[in-house]
Every structure is written in C-alpha cells, then in structure tokens.
C-alpha cells in the first residue's frame, strides 16, 4: 500500500516538474527596452523581463520600478498576492521579473473617477509615477495644486493621444530573480549582452 502511494506521488511530482519546465521554456525573455518598444504585443502575456531595479517602495514593498539602459524607459512592477512584497535589498540590482504585462487605459471617465477618489482621500494607482514618488497626502476634500495639475496634465495627454485614452503599463510579478553581474560589466554592458542574447535566439529560430 505504502509503495503504491509512494509510486503515485513520485509520478505526480515528475509530471508537475515536467509541466513547470515546459511553462518556463515557453515564456518570452525580453529586456525593458524591447518590452517598452512594443508593449502592446505583450499585454496579458507571460514574460520574463530583465532590467535594473531603480526603486522599491520602502513603506510596504508593494511596488518597484524597473529601468532599462536608458533610465527614461521604466516600468512599474507589482507583486502578485502570492509573491507578497518586494524586498528593498533588490534596489540597484539587475533582476529578472517573471510575470504578466498589464495595461490600464486612462480615458476621461477614468480621470473623472480618479478626481473623485482623490477628493475622497483615496490614493489612485495612476497617481504613482515611474520615479517612485507617490503623494500620500490625499486626505483633504479640496485638491491641492499638484493634484489639480496632475489631472489637467492627464486630460491634456488623453486629448493629445488622438485615441481617447492613454495607457499605463505594469508587470504583475510572480517571481523575482536577482542576476549576478560579473565584476567587469556595468549596467549598460549587461543590457547590451541581453540584446545580443535575444538576437542569437532569434537567429536560431
């Protein structure tokens, strides 16, 4: 009886491990630059994104910002419920983020709602910026000048987009992996290496 149970468990473990490997191998690996260049193609897809962590929210570790070689290119990363929180120790590290790319479309209705939420003292996710700053002083009914400016800017961006909305993207991360950088490499050199790796993979395909 014991042998039978053990045998069934062993098979189950084997099948599970095979399944896991297969899933990981099918996930596309990109760097932040490649991702941001054609992010609409990755919405709701599982990806592994490599980049450098520029900031981890120190209050709760509920978000981090991943930057490319060009630090103007950045994407917000939010942990899944299962992952919980990010450790501040990863700040400045080169990492691989495993997760799903998500999009939030900001249109006039969303902005109106955001304005109401701000007035009610609710901090909207859209108020977070890629530099890691987030104003948590949203407790007054009257909006301050910075908030009014933010809303005005968003409305202008939506109007200028020509699509009726602008998009905010983030990665819902279920696993984070720190990548060791060899002593002779800088952050820029690492990004170049990833690009070379991708080109090689594409050539092999």
């Amino acid at each position: 009886m014991f042998k039978k149970i053990f045998g069934v468990l062993a098979i189950a473990v084997l099948l599970y491990s095979c399944g896991t490997k297969q899933t990981e191998s099918t996930v596309e690996k990109v760097n932040v630059e490649t991702l941001m260049a054609s992010i609409d193609n990755y919405i709701d897809k599982d990806v592994v994104v490599s980049g450098t962590v520029s900031h981890v929210c120190a209050h709760g570790g509920k978000r981090l910002f991943l930057i490319a070689e060009n630090p103007d290119l950045a994407i917000k990363v939010i942990p899944t419920e299962e992952l919980g929180v990010f450790n501040k120790d990863v700040e400045g590290s080169s990492v691989n983020i495993y997760g799903k790319v998500k999009e939030l479309r900001i249109d006039d209705a969303y902005i109106a709602n955001m304005e109401t939420e701000m007035k009610e003292g609710v901090e909207s996710e859209a108020a977070h910026t890629h530099d890691g700053e987030h104003n948590i002083e949203h407790k007054t009914v009257e909006l301050d000048s910075a908030q009014i400016q933010k809303i005005t800017d968003l409305r202008s961006e939506v109007a200028e987009s020509g699509k009726g909305y602008i998009s905010q993207y983030w990665i819902e991360c279920n696993k984070i992996e720190t990548v060791e950088i060899p002593a002779e490499e800088t952050v820029n050199e690492v990004s170049e290496e990833i690009e070379t790796e991708e080109k090689t993979v594409e050539a092999e395909k």
Binding site: T52, S54, A58, H59, G60, G61, K62, I67, P71, E81, E82, G84, V85, K88, D89, E91, G92, S93, S94, D131, I136, E137, I181, A183, E184, E185, T186, V187
Partner: protein, 188 residues
C-alpha cells in the same frame, strides 16, 4: 454553570493561542497608523557628501571609476550598480542604500536604509503577504470577535457584565459611535 466554565476556558485558551498574533497586529497597527510620519519598515539615514569630480570624466564613466568615487565619498560602502537618472545626476547603488551625486558640483546625498527590527517583520505579516497567512489572520480576526464576546461573561457579580462590565462595555461602544457620528454621519 457548565456554559460559564466553557466560556472561561475558551477565553483563556484563545488568549494564550493568539497572544503573539495580538502583539504582532497591535504593534504593526500602531506603526501603519503613522505611516505618513515615519517609515516603520526601514531606518533611513541620509548624509550630505562631497566628491572631488574635477578628474572624473562622467561621459565615459566605467565601473572602476564609480568604485573609486564611492571609496572617496563613502569609504567602506559596497558598490552594487550605477546609472544616470537624469542629465547631471549620478546614482550609485550600494549595499543597503544609494548615493545621488550632482556631476556638476560634486555635491550629493548618501542614503542608507536598515531594516527596523521587529517592525519590519511584523509589518510584513500585517500586509497579508501570502494566501495562507491571510487564512491564519482571518482565523485570528474571527477569534478576536470570539474573545470579545467570551470576555463579557468571564466574571459574575458586581465586576461582571451586569455591573462594572456593563459600564465599561458601554464606554467602549460609545467611543467609536462618537467618531462615526462625527466623521461618517457628520452629525455635529
């Protein structure tokens, strides 16, 4: 008689079991209540620094140059990475912190963060990091309600719920009620 004993035993045992959880949630509750005033997870220290930048070529900055710069402004700090967040600013990541340096003036700020003992761990749990912990904390929350009700009937007599207990329980009900009237229903 039996019910009262059962109630007392339940109150006592739940109190023992959830002693640690009560301390965890109580302490982190206070910490998170004041999250606007302090960082309950990390002790963040910052220090003004000044670097000699006349010999540094920031346009072709190599890792070893940054390490030399780091050794000058913050000896003993371990280099992790660096980048230019904007033109004229160099950010050097070190173990447990970062340095932001103005490449024009050489002036900058060294910021280090250290986990706040006990609070970091307790707040981590308070943030409900994982599914299973959520289940544990739900059980705890349910048990708190049970503790509250069983607590009402631990004692009999003048110190029980029909005497002193009635007054104190009323005070405990009135306080949140006043705040609801004040803030939620805007009565006053």
């Amino acid at each position: 008689m039996k019910i009262r004993k059962l109630n007392r035993d339940l109150h006592r045992d739940l109190g023992y079991i959830f002693f640690a959880m009560t301390v965890i949630y109580g302490l982190s509750g206070i910490a998170l209540n004041h999250i606007d005033d302090w960082n309950p997870n990390y002790i963040i220290r910052s220090k003004e620094i000044s670097a000699t930048i006349s010999t540094v070529d920031f346009k072709s900055l190599k890792r070893e140059n940054v390490i030399s710069l780091l050794n000058e402004v913050a000896p003993g700090e371990k280099y992790k990475n660096h980048y230019f967040p904007e033109e004229g600013t160099l950010k050097i990541f070190i173990k447990d912190g970062s340095i932001q340096l103005d490449t024009q003036t050489g002036q900058g700020k060294l910021e280090t963060s250290k986990r706040r003992a006990i609070f970091h761990q307790f707040n981590y749990l308070h943030y409900n990091p994982r599914k299973w912990w959520t289940i544990v904390s739900d059980i705890f929350a349910g048990s708190l309600i049970l503790l509250a009700f069983t607590g009402l009937f631990v004692l009999k007599g003048k110190n029980g719920i029909t005497g002193r207990g009635a007054w104190l329980t009323s005070v405990g009900i009135i306080v949140p009620l006043i705040f609801l009237l004040l803030y939620y229903w805007n009565v006053f």
